[in-house]
Amino acid sequence: MSKFVIETKDLCKTYEGVVPVQAVNKVNLQIEDDEFTAIIGPSGSGKTTLLNMIGGLDRPTSGQMLVNGQNLAELSDNQLIDFRLKHIGFVFQSYNLIPVLTAKENTEFIMLLQKLPKEQRDARVEQLLEEVGLADKKDSRPSQLSGGQQQRVAVARALASKPDFVLADEPTANLDSHSAFNLLDIMARLNKEEGITFVFSTHDQRVIERARRVVTLVDGEIVSDERK
């Protein structure tokens, strides 16, 4: 068993086209349990591509992608879906939630896919919405929530499956600074108090300051990796 939750070895991704794009270039990154890591870099530097490969949404052109020691290349497409469901929580920039479901149902949904019994689901949904400060909004649909509230539901949903880590691709990009800080505070607290591993990308300078580790990408390569 690897001591890293996430480990990439010479990870590369090239988009074929008239002009091939080397979106991620020989990335070697190790992330341990309990880390709170920001991946930063200018737009087009390869943050989304890297996170997609870490999350098993996209396959690398070359190199290895290990999650808890499991080489994702060894999994079939269907196994990968199952792996994502069990091991990885996702928060996207937007469209995280199913519009026709309430905050509570959106959070519960993942656990339903995991076939957890009702009592367990109910208890956990209550607890999670409590943690993201939305206990009173549990019956609201996404359209009745602000952008920041929606992202907090997305965090609750990502945590519902008790994943090994949570991947968040620019989770604050569509938020005003107050909501952005609020979301980051919640993530940081969950990291500190519950030991949840977060990897998130951002190019928002204010958000970067909250991270405990900052990995900087430029043109698909890691140019710096700092821990605070």
């Binding site: 949404l57 994502r84 479901l101």
Partner: protein, 401 residues
Amino acid sequence: MLVKIAWRNIWRNTTRSVVVIIAIALGLWAGVFASAFVQGMMRQKIETVIKAEMSDFQFHRPGFTDEYLAKLYMQNGEEIRSKVGTEESVIASSGRLISMGMVGSAKQNGAIKIVGIDPDDEAAVTGLNEQVLDGEYFEGVMRNPILISQATAEKFRVKLKSKLILTLQDVDGEIIAGAFRVVGIYKTENVMFDRMNVYVRQDDLRKLIKIETGLHEIAVSLNDHDLADPMATKYQVIHPDLSVQSWLDLATGMRMMVDMIDVYIYYIVGIILVALLFSILNTMLMAVLERVREIGMLMAVGMTKGKVFFMIMLETLILTMIGGPLGLLISWAFVTYYGVNGIDLGGAYDEVGFSSVIYPFLDGRSYLDVTFMVVIMAIVAAIYPAIKALNLNPVEAIRKI
């Protein structure tokens, strides 16, 4: 939960869903009503053919109906008739002697089919007594009464009580003649039939053509026309030396027409359904394409392709399950109402032998058939959008975020 999502997705765009439901209901209604119209029309036609002309099934000696030779009679005809009469499904039967002959009045001559009947038996099978316009049904004339049609009366310019001379061949082929007196004048819906047939008492004809016992034709009517074919087959086996035929084979072109009508109904329903299919398919496809990002997200967070497929299918199926029964209910109400009150075509089909007031009718099985076809259609319409959803690449879908 998938059902919940599908259900709520349906009401996300109420107008669209209502349009789909109405389309399904209307399609079903159109299909059922068109089928019921054609089936009702056909049923009336069959009823006329069977009731007035053919009865449900008949016995003959093979080849008798080709030239109506007197010698081709069934020796044990009465025996067969009483045996058949014991069948539970048999309402009535009529034994006939038939002879082709010439009819002559003071003014004119012409060929005619002379049918020797027992008036009561014939009345029970064809209701001939109800078709009498003028005079009486074999009452009032003591010697050699004859019942002729209005068309024949006009052609030979004869009236009630007029004398007619029939010239025909007896069982040995000898030419003989007899004098008859017009006792009544009848008219059926079929002019061709009327021109051809005259009726006399069986015993009168029997003496003329010298057949002591036996019959040329036995016509049987049943309580269910669908039994005609099986009964004919059954008696054909019992009497291999005779020709036993149901109305489907007795009336020229009838079997073909009945078979065609079924195909015709399926064509109508088929065309309606194809139109419906494309409208549902198009609508559901739009619904899927609008939700590309959402579906991509679901696949990213761990929803399997099977579940995505099922979720999209469910939406169409739920819509069908609302629109279907609704359509059936409307159809049933329409068919029932017009089945009683009739639809007046104002004589558009008189010439081809169909009645001018149509009473739509649809049997339970056809309702089931149409419903089944609609459900199959809905599933087919659902599959394509669902497959489209499956082919989404979550990464691509999410990138659009």
